[in-house]
């Protein structure tokens, strides 16, 4: 909105939707003009000079909403699905509205979902966790048992290996939510998996260096993954709270596995069983799926770690610039499965020249980092990109560099540099550049 507010700018008015924006280009041209000359207000703003209803009457009392939802003016900030991607919503995925969020923590209510047989409702009272296989004593824990082990809190990102997977062959989906929204970042409370494995005893397993665990969920898909013992004993968490409250059912209530830095499919939801084995199980989700086919038809397996990646969330196709030339905040997020983000660079000219962005705060290991670049936009076209570097020195590659190694059929692990074409009218489009 410009400073030239109209009386009909009631609070009911929504933020610009993409469609609204595209059809309202002429109007925003006028707004742009007004904005540049806006310092001089010709008529008094009635929002200031007239007593508004909210400044006179009363608002809602406490308890009107025992558990609150975002205010109605934000009801377009929701998870969204791409219909044509999957056969059915029960075995499907949707996308976090990353374009509309700031900071680093993803609220649970809009954090993306991925189910293989639907989100089940499992009561804490009906919850059991079994540890079996090469352990000294196979054990069964109740939910109440888990709450009695020493707890830790950690913030980690979860990214689906297929995030950006639709973009391998070319620019396809027009929105950061759709190109990069299979990600969330939460603060988890839980018990280190190491603690539970030690409770069952690992002497029976002998040499741990070639041992594995197989983890499995309680839903009908029985989603299961094999994880090397080294990782299991390192930083894997058996979590029951996220962002301070119980996990949502769509994220595995009451208990899920947290596998920091590794692909989301391994973060088994409704975790019900941990088996210590002497070999990987090679389940469907680690052979038929979540393997990366290269150009020569050979496929990589066990590609667990998520490479360093970043994306500009605003401006972006769903977040056009509506204020015209002048001060502009470019923001986005960066993450790496190998550790902390140490640096993010931003290019305004399609990758020819780069400048360092400002990190919102120092990057945490295997967690989202927010970055900002504050510029004085001259109103001309831009090809904006972001490029993450992590603590191991890995630099996020261009799409061409990735395709050179992997071809276009990998589906998974597309961590390429994303380009948005910002036009003079502030509209942005997902493009590929030379």
């Amino acid at each position: 909105m410009t400073r030239e507010n109209k009386v009909d700018d009631t609070p009911e008015r929504k933020g610009p939707s993409r469609r609204g924006f595209l059809t309202g280009t002429a109007a925003s041209g006028a707004a742009l003009l007004a904005a540049t000359a806006a310092r001089a207000q010709t008529a008094p703003d009635p929002l200031i000079t007239e007593v508004q209803p909210w400044a006179s009457g009363l608002g809602e009392g406490v308890d009107a909403t025992p558990y609150g939802l975002p205010i109605k003016y934000e009801d377009d900030v929701v998870r969204r699905n791409v219909d044509w991607l999957t056969a059915d919503t029960i075995s499907s995925i949707n996308f976090t509205p990353i374009h509309a969020l700031d900071g680093t923590i993803t609220p649970q209510g809009c954090a993306f979902e991925r189910h293989h047989s639907g989100a089940i409702e499992l009561r804490k009272e009906d919850y059991r966790l079994m540890i079996n296989g090469l352990v000294d004593t196979p054990l069964v824990f109740t939910y109440a048992d888990l709450e009695r082990f020493p707890r830790e809190i950690h913030t980690y990102f979860l990214e689906c290996a297929a995030n950006t997977g639709m973009e391998w062959a070319g620019a396809q989906l027009n929105g950061a939510q759709f190109t990069h929204g299979m990600i969330h970042n939460m603060e988890y409370s839980g018990v280190p998996l190491r603690t539970l494995l030690e409770e069952a005893g690992l002497d029976t397993a002998g040499d741990l260096s070639d041992k594995w665990i197989y983890v499995e969920g309680a839903d009908a898909s029985s989603n299961g993954r094999s994880i090397p013992m080294e990782k299991a004993l390192d930083d894997v968490l058996v979590a029951f709270k996220a962002n301070g409250e119980a996990l949502r059912k769509e994220h595995g209530y009451p208990v899920r596995l947290v596998v920091p830095g590794w692909e989301g499919n391994m973060w088994v939801k409704w975790l019900r069983r941990i088996e210590v084995t002497d070999q990987p199980i090679e389940s469907r989700e680690e052979t038929s799926k979540y393997t990366d086919t290269l150009a020569d038809g050979i496929s990589r397996k066990w590609t667990w770690v998520m490479d360093a990646k970043s994306v500009i969330t605003s401006p972006s196709p769903q977040m056009p610039i509506t204020h015209g030339a002048g001060p502009l905040v470019i923001t986005g997020m960066a993450w790496s499965g190998r550790g902390a983000i140490t640096r993010v660079d931003v290019s305004l000219d399609g990758g020819m020249t780069w400048q360092p962005a400002r990190l919102g705060k120092a990057g945490d290991s295997k967690a989202l980092t927010r970055f900002y670049l504050d510029i004085d936009w001259d109103g001309s076209e831009m090809l904006i990109q972001s490029r993450a570097t992590d603590e191991t020195g890995y630099v996020q590659p261009t799409k061409d560099a990735l395709r050179e190694v992997r071809g276009e059929n990998s589906i998974y692990h597309n961590n390429c540099i994303q380009t948005w074409h910002v036009k003079e009218n502030g509209e942005a489009e997902n493009v590929e550049v030379s």
Binding site: K14, R18, R19, D76, V82, W84, A87, D88, I90, S91, S117, M130, N132, T137, P138, L139, V140, F141, T142, R148, F149, A169, G170, A171, N174, F178, E198, E199, A220, S221, S222, Q279, I281, E282, S283, T287, S288, T291, G297, I298, S299, R300, K301, W302, T303, P317, R343, S347, M352, T353, W354, L383, G393, V395, V405, E408, E429, V431, E432, S434
Partner: protein, 350 residues
């Protein structure tokens, strides 16, 4: 008298119980019983560890596949809609859009048995016998020309089967093959040889969902309002039906989970593998717009079949006996109560 002694006694008993099973540092949890481990420890490793005794042939599996799998995977495992294709695709892995099937892609046979046994059929997982799973696995292999029609697959013969793409996988080699992505210092200036040009635009494809959620909600509200308006006159002539028992409706919602993979109900329900079922109870058969019915269903519709609770109940009990040639490959609801419940549930959708 103080409660203290009682507390001591209580704690002592608890310690005793907990102490019997456990050696762990915290003494939490309890020992898993062998029956419990057996019930959940179903995974099968590539070397066949975990395979149950049993056997089956493709011949045995053909009818099973048609009944339990073909609705999504196709009669010949060729896939329906966007559901997975299970057969064929050989020689496509090094082309654009490779066709990854059990035959062309899966490296281990154990994975097929393990997945079918634990996770299929969709919506009725873990309802098939071990022999049936051998038979289905054999059928899938047969449809990929890996086994003969009458060849026996069993825990004994399992290791003799060779999967065509067994050697098609390498362990993650990113740190070597992509070592050049690690750099001392990222490029900051003159990072490209030629001026940057746009080579592709997403809007050309135009596959992005357009509407915001708010717009969709408004649109469906409008549509609902229109529907109500259009149906209003008809309602007057309809015989008032008794309100279904809420408990039965709730039970029916649970039963409907078996149907959800193919059928949708409620606001915005659309046709999937099966037709959307809003308003199905009491309405003519074969009449959902835009759904391609079987010839059998079209014939029944032409003969004036109406889905009264009785007819629908008979259909749901044994679909393929009730209507030979129906596309609905559901095996049927055995329990009379479940049939009543699901019909009560369906009757709540106009």
């Amino acid at each position: 008298m103080s409660k203290f002694p009682k507390l001591i006694a209580g704690t002592a008993v608890a310690t005793l119980i907990a102490g019997t099973a456990l050696a762990g540092p915290f003494g939490l949890g309890r020992e898993a019983l062998p029956e419990e481990v057996a019930a959940w420890n179903l995974d099968i490793a590539p070397d066949g560890t975990g395979l149950p005794e049993g056997s089956g042939t493709a011949e045995d599996g053909e009818m099973l596949f048609s009944e339990s799998c073909a609705a999504c995977h196709g009669e010949f495992a060729e896939g329906v809609g966007r559901w997975p294709v299970l057969a064929g695709g050989f020689g496509t892995l090094d082309r654009m859009d490779p066709v990854k099937t059990v035959g062309s892609y899966w490296p281990y046979l154990s994975t097929v048995y393990d997945y079918v046994r634990r996770s299929m059929p969709f919506g009725a997982a873990q309802t098939m016998s071990d022999d049936d799973v051998y038979a289905l696995t054999a059928y899938i292999l047969y449809s990929n020309s890996i086994m003969e029609y009458d060849e026996v697959l069993s825990n004994e013969t399992f290791s003799e089967i060779e999967m065509p793409n067994a050697d098609g996988f390498i362990v993650d080699n990113r740190e070597e093959a992509e070592a050049h992505f690690w750099k001392d210092e990222p490029c900051m200036e003159n990072c490209k040889d030629a001026p940057v040009e746009i080579t592709m635009r997403a809007t050309i494809l135009d596959v992005t969902p357009e509407e915001t959620a708010a717009e969709e909600a408004a649109a469906s509200e409008e549509a609902a309002a229109e529907d109500t308006a259009a149906e209003a006159p008809a309602e007057e002539t309809e015989v008032a039906m008794a309100e279904p028992d809420p408990a039965l409706v709730e039970e029916g919602e649970g039963v409907f989970r078996k149907c959800k993979a193919c059928h949708k109900v409620g606001e915005g329900a659309r046709n999937g593998t099966g037709p959307a079922l809003n308003g199905i109870v009491g309405h003519p058969a074969g009449a959902v717009e835009g759904f391609r019915y079987s010839n059998a269903m079209q014939d029944a519709a032409a003969d004036g079949l109406v889905w009264t609770p009785e007819e629908l109940g008979a259909f749901l009990a044994k679909p393929r006996d009730y209507m030979r040639g129906t596309k609905m490959s559901f095996v049927g609801l055995r329990d009379e109560e479940e049939i009543k419940a699901v019909i009560a549930y369906l009757s709540t959708f106009e």
